[in-house]
Amino acid sequence: MSPGDLAAVWLTLKLATVVTLLLLLVGTPVAWWLAHTRSRWKGVVAAVVALPLVLPPTVLGFYLLLLLGPRGPIGQLTQALGLGTLPFTFAGLVVASVLYSLPFVVQPIQGAFAAVGSRPLEAAATLGAGPWDRFFTVAVPLARPGFLTATVLGFAHTVGEFGVVLMIGGNIPEKTRVVSVQIYDHVEALDYAAAHWLAGGMVVFAFVVLLALHLLTGRREEGR
């Protein structure tokens, strides 16, 4: 692999790590709310969260480019805050990837919270546990398989991201040129040998990740 390829691999891992951590932070409260609310807005929020599942990444990328750009509302806000505009930056990729991978993190956690149900929490409450205590010592440990699935899927899905990055990344080495874009470049430039190294690596990575997920969650279920 060339230094450019290694830089792309490193950047991709960095992006996926940052995005996964942020998603766990942002996605957990959303998942909790979705699992427990009786609000009539639940359907709307759930649909918004799931949008990236069905939208083509080009739609997401195209609108992000316009929204985050200097003439878009978010772009004008970031400029007013002295942050400049987000497209063509690492921070921009992080924002886009958080949106893009959101359902892959929220949905497993939401499912796990729902499966835990309210009875263990009520039991903890009768034993005098406060709401934060109940959340961190009862709900989260019981929902661990959901968090595990969410982490793995969020990370892997960000690694596999292509369309959105292509639309707002600008293909800048060490800033926005991730592995999937690098592979695309190699293929388009007819450098198939270089493409195979990275593309084959991605296939192996994806397989190992999914196999590991199956083994981890599978063992957990049997252990119950």
Partner: protein, 247 residues
């Protein structure tokens, strides 16, 4: 009267028998002129043209792997030559259908001066170009910046688009204040559509010869042969020139 009707019906039927279909892969920068040319050609010949637009490198890979295209209108001269060498294109069918012109463009008026001095002056965060590894216009942009002696100072500001259409999109949305695009994208009917532009002198970069070639899959297809002939005709040439290409 009846006889005349019969004659018209027969003529229509005959035209249908002779009408054929041709599938064309065309460079992204040639999208609008080709749509016009194809419409004219369809009207005059009765043949049907199916157009696909994209990056030349991608078309190459697809053609080599059995894509049903019968004509390639490339953004360069290397790809058609390569296809001919490899036996995927008909020998001797290559010709230059357009010579591309590179332009430094901004969606804001007054941003680009008539001599391109803005490249030395600065005052912008991002400069969009098509990926030089993939797109001839990107390579020409790179060569021009180097010839002007501004490449070193601009390198950190470059954002690369996958093809020239995306470079245009970066500049049109003002995410990049400036960019090198194809003149054909910002010009219509011989005038600039908007913003400000500087046509990069052809002396600053190698000429962007865009070659057409008949693929072996199109051999013997009357529509393919007729379309290639039409592309070299006066009508097609005047459309091509109106979009800012030399020919």
């Amino acid at each position: 009267m009846v006889r005349r009707l019969l004659f018209i019906l027969l003529a229509l039927a005959a035209a249908r028998v002779f009408a054929a279909e041709v599938q064309v892969a065309a460079a992204a920068n040639f999208t609008t002129p080709m749509q016009k040319i194809a419409a004219e050609f369809e009207r005059e010949s009765g043949h049907k043209v199916l157009l696909s637009f994209g990056a030349t490198g991608k078309f190459y890979a697809q053609i080599r792997n059995g894509a049903p295209f019968q004509i390639l209108l490339a953004a360069d001269e290397a790809t058609p030559a390569k296809l001919e060498q490899e036996g995927a294109a008909v020998a001797g069918s290559r010709f230059t259908y357009a010579v591309g012109k590179l332009v430094l463009w901004s969606a804001r008026s007054g941003m680009v001066d008539p001599r391109g001095e803005v490249l030395k002056r600065g005052g912008f965060d991002h400069l969009a170009i098509a990926n030089p590894r993939l797109a001839p216009y990107g390579m020409a942009a790179l060569e021009s910046m180097k010839a002007m002696g501004v490449y070193e100072s601009l390198e950190g500001k470059l954002v690369q688009a996958e093809n020239i259409a995306q470079a245009y999109q970066f500049v049109a949305s003002e995410n990049a204040l400036l960019g090198f695009v194809a003149l054909s994208q910002v010009m219509e009917g011989g005038v600039l559509k908007g913003g400000s532009a500087w046509i990069v002198p052809a002396s600053l970069h190698a000429p962007i010869h865009q070659d057409a070639v008949l693929l072996t899959t199109g051999q013997g297809n009357p529509a393919a042969v007729a379309l290639l002939r039409y592309l070299q005709g006066a009508k097609a040439r005047s459309i091509i020139q109106a979009y800012g290409y030399d020919i």
